[in-house]
């Protein structure tokens, strides 16, 4: 699997309140998997999330924020309405919180203000895709590997 250089951002998954995948996008040119695979992965993330809120030693937990491994890092941003944005990136990448907040802003703009978008349904908005691609490119430029 040859990866494009200088592209720390890997994939974005957006999961709705009930755990269903509503958006998935790859940013590093990896081969696309079967759509059922993505659905399964998203449901798995969501399940970990719910379990984590129960397992916490403190009274309340907002769920998983980061999962770190040798080959990648996964960041999660949960909105007050229960929508979760997961972004997988290379381990050296930084500034994820800001980027995830900006992705949330794009969702609020180009999905929620779109009269043709139904809540909790898969996001199929051209402007969301186009703006997201631009945002990730900006992020990649900011976080070039040394």
């Amino acid at each position: 699997l040859t990866k494009a250089k200088g592209m720390p951002a890997q994939c974005l998954y957006v999961v709705n309140k009930s755990g269903g995948l509503i958006y998935q996008q790859d940013f590093d040119g990896r081969p696309k998997l079967d759509s059922n695979e993505y659905l399964r992965m998203a449901s798995a993330f969501h399940a970990f999330f719910v379990i984590a809120t129960q397992l916490t030693p403190t009274d309340s937990s907002s769920g998983i924020q980061t999962i770190e491994t040798d080959s990648f890092r996964l960041h999660c941003f949960q909105t007050p309405t229960g929508v979760k944005f997961f972004l997988t990136v290379d381990p050296y990448d930084t500034g994820l919180d800001e980027t995830l907040a900006e992705i949330y802003e794009l969702y609020a703009d180009y999905a929620l203000k779109n009269p043709f978008y139904e809540l909790e349904m898969p996001i199929r908005c051209e402007k969301f895709d186009a703006n997201l691609e631009q945002l990730v490119q900006r992020h990649n430029k900011k976080n070039k590997p040394n």
Partner: protein, 209 residues
């Protein structure tokens, strides 16, 4: 000693030289400045709901565009009145087609959307005039799905333009169409196509000759 009668708000009735302040005496907030601005997000959500409502009431794309244009028409009529009352250089009435188009794409567009329209074009064959906006404000956050590509939410703006034109005695048919954009799917390049009635064109020809 006579009792001084009190006004509706319980205020003392003043002598004839002093006016009681009421909402009708206040300045209409117009032109530029904080009072005339509205949150874009608030408008976007309201417009999104309006589009969904119109869609539920319409059986076809034609009907949808017409209903949305009717909403815009009412806005256009009132906008012209408001502009005549408070706009800059507002005392002037436009008499020729070119002046009218200049007014539409300049002061009116700025009043509605905060900026001038990008271009005004004229098609050679059909005698239509087109006001182009590279990223029209009302559709800024809207991505129409491919199966509904005939549907244009900028029909609201077409209605506004038609309202203004009809009230200024420039009867025309106004439609909004998507135009090819070289910036990709990020911006909705829209053209407001204006076809003036025959008598308007004849009158204009007489005036400008």
């Amino acid at each position: 000693m006579t009792e001084v009668p009190t006004g509706a708000a319980g205020a003392q009735l003043q002598t004839p030289t002093m006016r009681v302040s009421s909402p009708l005496d206040k300045e209409i907030r117009g032109g530029s400045g904080k009072g005339s601005e509205v949150s874009l997000s608030a408008f976007a959500f309201l417009f999104s709901e309006l589009v969904q409502y119109t869609q539920s009431k319409s059986a076809s794309v034609q009907e949808f565009q017409q209903r949305l244009a009717e909403v815009g028409y009412a806005v256009g009529v009132r906008m012209l009145e408001l502009n005549s009352f408070t706009g800059k250089g507002s005392a002037k009435r436009e008499l020729t087609i070119l002046d009218m188009l200049g007014f539409l794409s300049g002061p009116l567009w700025r009043r509605l959307f905060g900026k001038k329209a990008d271009r005004v074009e004229q098609t050679v064959e059909s005698g239509e005039y087109i006001i182009c906006d590279d990223n029209i404000l009302v559709s800024q956050y809207i991505s129409t799905p491919n199966d509904k590509s005939g549907l244009n939410c900028a029909s609201l703006v077409a209605g506004i333009v038609q309202g203004v034109l009809d009230s200024s005695e420039f009867n025309a048919t106004v439609v909004a169409h998507n135009m090819q954009s070289d910036t990709g799917p990020k911006a909705s390049r829209t053209g407001i196509f204006i076809r003036f009635d025959e008598d308007v064109l004849a009158r204009n020809a007489k005036m400008t000759s």
